[in-house]
Symmetry: C2
């Protein structure tokens, strides 16, 4: 079974815990971490660490803490990061290209960043056939075939707002199950498909709120 | 007074509501919106819309809905978006440059995107003195002066992980109150300073979770 009722907020913190565990785990002499330390480094309370992890099982021992290597491997399994995940990116503009390089760097540097951008798509004829860091740019017509061939389940959308929904529809039709959307529009997708909005303008607007608190 | 106990999750949805209101409000014949429609377009339940807005006052009338122009102007005021906010960006690499262009486009296109990137900073001598879309790149030594002179309160950090904390410390010392951090590290800042993490790798890792639900 999967834990389908677990809130998005909990899932959002798991990769953060994983990153802390991997950093702490680089020191071969450190085998255990307390919820206090894990929380401190992840920027949340120890009680929240225990509650979040408690959704998935009994990973720690009271008064002892968590075994770093074991908890990291369990989190990788829960997050499906124990195997490589092929990712597509649609919209190879300046933001798209920058994200390809950024994700490529994470992929190289982080043990658990098992997400690999393997195909790029664009509608502009003068981009098609080119590449970013060696990853080929395909026409939208090749989407379905490439998604099937490479087993792509996650896509990053960096197209203009006006075409984002159309692109999302094409991705869903091709079999993509999760979309990271950078276009400043709310995408409508069928049940079973998950959308995360990485909308920089919303993040900045929300930060403005805190200027007067 | 400000509503300092209101959760981050609520604040996160306000710019989304504002965007819906502005889109719907483009039609001069449409004056009112129901919580149902506002929720539908923002991707949340109508009950949550009413609850979120209820933190800030009585904006709607039962059975009538919300007056679009009034609610939009109230949200702009709550979010401090009723006046222009000067923003700095530190780290003019490929992601940083792309974000400058992206934010510039939002600033041009969206009435309520009152966030304006006015100064860029980098430590690399061959970038300093250059510009992105006409916005000058300053050395880090000019940070304090530029922040004071331009009244900068928000900064975007797109430097490598290894220097992100140092940059955050310099920003805080210069008087910046909110940081949008793209570096994949947890920043430590004093109370009164707000950090939002726009970590693309965490977003992608979290999406991987949903591949098996």
């Amino acid at each position: 079974m999967r834990w389908s009722k677990i809130s998005d907020a909990v899932i959002r913190r798991l990769p953060l815990y994983l990153r802390v565990l991997e950093e702490v785990g680089r020191d071969p002499d450190v085998k255990l971490i307390s919820s206090q330390e894990l929380g401190d480094q992840a920027g949340v309370s120890p009680a929240l660490v225990r509650k979040d992890l408690g959704w998935f099982g009994e990973f720690g021992k009271q008064g002892v803490g968590y075994e770093i290597a074991y908890l990291a491997s369990e989190l990788r399994r829960i997050l499906n990061l124990d195997k490589e995940i092929p990712v597509a990116l649609v919209g190879v503009g300046s933001l798209g290209s920058a994200l390809v390089r950024y994700a490529g760097q994470r992929y190289e540097e982080e043990a658990s960043f098992n997400l690999h951008i393997v195909a790029l798509f664009d509608s502009s004829p003068n981009k098609i056939g080119g590449n970013v860091d060696g990853i080929p740019i395909w026409p939208m017509e090749a989407l379905k075939e490439q998604v099937a061939e490479k087993g792509i389940k996650i896509a990053i959308v960096t197209v203009p707002s006006s075409s984002a929904q159309m692109v999302a529809d094409q991705l869903v039709a091709a079999g993509v199950k999760a979309i990271l959307n950078f276009a400043p529009v709310q995408l409508t997708v069928p049940e079973g498909v998950h959308v995360a909005n990485a909308d920089v303008s919303l993040e900045l607007q929300r930060l403005a709120y805190y200027l007067s608190t």
